[in-house]
Assembly symmetry: C2
C-alpha cells in the first residue's frame, strides 16, 4: 500500500517535471542565473540546518560502521556548504548553451534551415553518498534549461532532503517553475525501478556512483543512460619516450589521487626501455606505498619481491595505491591490450615519436587520449568546461567529460515561403 502510493507519487513527479520543462525551455539566461544566485545564498543561510540534518546521516553511518571514505564523502561542514554555493555561482558564469545556432544552411528551393541547441527535457540523476551532488546537478540542469529528478543514496537521506528543501524554497521568488526540480526520497530500489520506467516523461538518466549502481541502472532503465562503469586507465611508455618525463607522468597518474576514475591502473612499458625505466620507476612507486603487480618480464627485471599480476588484474579498477605493470613487445601490443582490457576512458602514451603518437591516438578506442600528459586531466574543469556533470565512456551523444553542452540536444527550424515537395 505504502509502496503503491510512493510509486504513484514518482510517476506524478515525472509528469509534473515534463510539464515544467516546457516552461524551462523558454526562460532567459538572466532568469535562470537569478535563481542560481538565490539558491547559493539560501545554502549559506541554511548552513546550520543543513549541518544538523547531515549529522543524522553521519550518526546512522557510524552506527552501521560505514568505511571512513564513505563517511568523508557524506560529510557536510561549513567549508563544503561554501563550496556548494560557489559551484552555483560558477554555474551562473557559464555561457548558457540554449539557443546556440549550431549550423545554418539554405537549400536550393529557398528553405532556410537552422540547427539550434535546446534543452533535453527531464533529466534523472541517480547518485550515491555525496550530498553536494544534489545542488551541483540541480544548478547545471537548470542552467541548461532542463527539469531534473534526483534520487540520492539512502545513506544521505536526511542531507539530500535538507539541501533539496532549501533549494526548492529559494525557487519560490523566481520565475523557475516549482515543478522543475524533484527529489525521490523513498529509499528502496523498487522506487528506482519505477523512475527508470518513465520513458514517456524522462529523457535521460545519468547515474553517478560505484560500478554496481551504474550497472543496475543501465540494466533496468528503459530511458537512455549516459554513464561510465569504471576507469581502467593506462599509460604506455614507448621505446622513444623521454624516460624522465615518463617517470613523472606515471607517478602523477597513479599517486596524485588514486581513488578517482582517471587515475592510472595499468602501466605498459616497451621491452626496449623496460630494463632502464622500470627499476627507477618502481622504486618511486614503492616509496609512495604503491603495491606493484607485475607480468613475468616485469618480475624478471625487478625481482620476485613484487606480486605476480593475474589475468584479472588487467581489467581491475583498483581505485587504490595498487598498479599492474606489463612489458610489451610493440606499440600494437599496447594498443591491443588497452582496447581489450581497458574501459575506454583515458589512456596515455609517452613518446617523442610523432608517428607512434599518431597511431596510438587513432587506434585506441577511448574517450580521452593523451600524448605526454597525465591521464588525470580527464575532467570537465581541467578541460575548461567550467563544470562537470559526469564522464561518459559511451559513444553516443556524449563522450568524455560532460558539462552544460552535453545536457542539451538540438532541433531543426525550417523557414519557408510556402515551399511544397514535388
Amino acid at each position: 500500500m505504502e509502496t503503491k502510493r510512493s510509486h504513484d507519487a514518482i510517476i506524478r513527479m515525472a509528469q509534473k517535471a515534463k510539464i515544467a520543462c516546457a516552461q524551462m525551455a523558454l526562460l532567459s539566461s538572466s532568469v535562470k542565473n537569478e535563481a542560481l544566485r538565490r539558491m547559493a545564498e539560501a545554502l549559506l543561510k541554511g548552513k546550520a540546518y543543513l549541518i544538523r540534518e547531515n549529522t543524522k546521516d553521519l550518526n546512522a553511518a557510524r552506527r552501521q560502521n560505514y568505511s571512513k571514505p564513505i563517511i568523508d564523502r557524506l560529510t557536510l561542514n561549513e567549508k563544503r556548504i561554501g563550496e556548494m554555493a560557489q559551484c552555483l555561482w560558477d554555474t551562473v558564469k557559464l555561457k548558457d548553451p540554449v539557443g546556440e545556432v549550431l549550423a545554418v544552411f539554405r537549400r536550393p528551393n529557398g528553405l532556410l534551415i537552422k540547427k539550434i541547441r535546446t534543452p533535453i527535457g527531464v533529466i534523472g540523476i541517480i547518485y550515491e553518498s555525496r550530498p553536494n551532488v544534489t545542488s551541483d546537478c540541480i544548478g547545471l540542469c537548470l542552467k541548461a534549461g532542463n527539469a531534473v529528478i534526483l534520487k540520492g543514496g539512502k545513506e544521505a537521506f536526511h542531507s539530500n532532503k535538507a539541501v533539496f528543501s532549501v533549494l526548492k524554497k529559494a525557487l519560490h521568488k523566481t520565475k523557475i517553475p516549482q515543478e522543475a526540480i524533484h527529489l525521490v526520497s523513498w529509499r528502496d530500489r523498487a522506487s528506482l525501478n519505477v523512475l527508470l520506467a518513465q520513458e514517456r516523461y524522462v529523457d535521460l538518466i545519468i547515474p553517478r556512483g560505484g560500478e554496481g549502481l551504474i550497472r543496475f541502472v543501465a540494466e533496468h532503465s528503459r530511458i537512455p543512460v549516459i554513464k561510465h562503469y569504471k576507469g581502467v586507465c593506462h599509460t604506455y611508455v614507448g621505446p622513444r619516450a623521454d624516460l624522465k618525463m615518463a617517470r613523472a607522468l606515471c607517478f602523477n597518474a597513479k599517486v596524485q589521487r588514486p581513488g578517482v576514475c582517471n587515475a592510472m591502473e595499468t602501466m605498459l612499458v616497451h621491452r626496449d626501455v623496460a630494463a632502464r625505466f622500470l627499476p627507477l620507476m618502481i622504486t618511486d612507486f614503492q616509496k609512495a606505498g604503491v603495491e606493484i603487480r607485475g607480468c613475468p618480464r616485469t618480475r624478471q627485471i625487478i625481482g620476485k619481491g613484487i606480486k605476480r599480476a593475474t589475468a584479472k588484474d588487467w581489467e581491475e579498477e583498483y581505485l587504490d595505491l595498487i598498479l599492474s605493470v606489463k612489458v610489451v613487445d610493440s606499440l600494437e601490443e599496447a594498443i591491443d591490450h588497452i582496447n581489450t582490457y581497458g574501459s575506454h576512458h583515458s589512456d596515455a602514451i609517452v613518446t617523442q615519436d610523432a608517428k607512434e603518437a599518431d597511431l596510438f591516438l587513432r587506434s585506441v578506442d577511448s574517450a580521452c587520449l593523451y600524448v605526454n600528459a597525465s591521464t588525470r586531466f580527464t575532467d570537465g574543469y581541467q578541460f575548461g568546461f567550467g563544470a562537470e556533470i559526469g564522464i561518459s565512456t559511451d559513444k553516443l551523444h556524449a563522450r568524455g567529460p560532460m558539462a552544460l553542452e552535453e545536457l542539451t540536444t538540438y532541433k531543426y527550424l525550417v523557414y519557408g515561403k510556402g515551399q511544397i515537395r514535388t
Copy 2:
C-alpha cells in the same frame, strides 16, 4: 541445437565485426570510396542473379497473400538495382566525416585539446522488406568507418542474402576487411534477441520499419537504439496565416505521399480562420480522396458528412489518405496538442506573424519545425545531407534526419609536454 549453433554464430559475427572496426577506423577516404565503387559495379553485374533470387521472395510473398505495398517494397528490378548502385556512387561523393576537427582549445597549462570525429564502431541495422536497405546501409556505414551487422526481414530473405553476397565478394579486392560487413540470415526473433544482447561488441542499433518492429527492438535491446516509432505530424494554420499558402502546404503535406512518416496526420486550425479556411481546404482534400475525421467544431462548419474524430485519432499515424482536423482556440492550445499527441517528428505552423512563429518554434518539442513549409521536407536528401540512414525522434546523439555525421562519435586528443596534475 540448430538454434544454439545459430546463436553462437551471431556472437562470433559481432566479435569479428568489433575486430574489423579497429581496422576500419584507420582507412583513408580513397580506400573506402574505391570499395563503394566496386560494390556498385558488382550490383550492376550481378543484376540477373539478384532478380532471380528476388523472385523466390516474391513468389513466397504472393503465396502468403502479402499486401500489394509490401510486395512493391520487396521487388527488385533493373531500375531499382540501378538506383542501389547509384546510392553507392552518391555515397562516394559525400565528404568523409572521419577525422574532422570539431573543436581545438589550449589550456592555461599548455595542454592542446582536439575534439575529433571518429567512427562509432559496430552498427546493427534491423529492417524490413526493402532489399535496397542492405546496400544503402552498408555503403553509409562503411563510408563513416564503421563495421555493420544487418538483419533484414524474413520476407526478403533470399534477396538480402543475394545482395549481401554480391557486395561481400566485391570487397575481396579492396583493403576493407572482409569482416566489416555481416548479414544475420536466421529468420527467428530469438536470433534478433541474441544480436540485441551483444553490447560488448555492438555500439549502436538502428531499427527501420514498422512501429511493431521498432518497439520490439527498443524494448529488448541492451545496446543504445536510435529510432522513431512513428510520425504523427501536424500543420497548424494560425489566425494570421496566408490562407492560400496554407491550403497548398496542407494539401502537399497530406496528399503528395501519404504513406511516409513526414506526411501530415492532423491539421489544427485557429478558430478565427476556421470558417473561411476549412470549407475550401476540405473540398480539396475530398476531391483527392482524403477521408476527414473532424472535431465537433470542424463538423459544425463542414457538416455532419464527415466522420467524428475520436480521442484515438489524435495519436494515430494513418500512413494513408486519412486526416484528423481540429479547431483550436489559441496558439497555446495548438502547441499543447502537438506536444501531447504528436510523435516529436515534424510539425509546421502557417503564419505571417513572426512572433507567433517564434513561440511555436521554441515551444514545440519536435525534431523538425517548419514555418510556412510542408512537413514533407524532413528527409536527409531534402536537408542536403546527401543521404539518409533514418530519422530520429530521440533526443540523444541524433535528432531528425540522420546521415554520415550521425554515424560518427568523437574523441578528445590531448597533446602535452609532460604536464602533470597538481
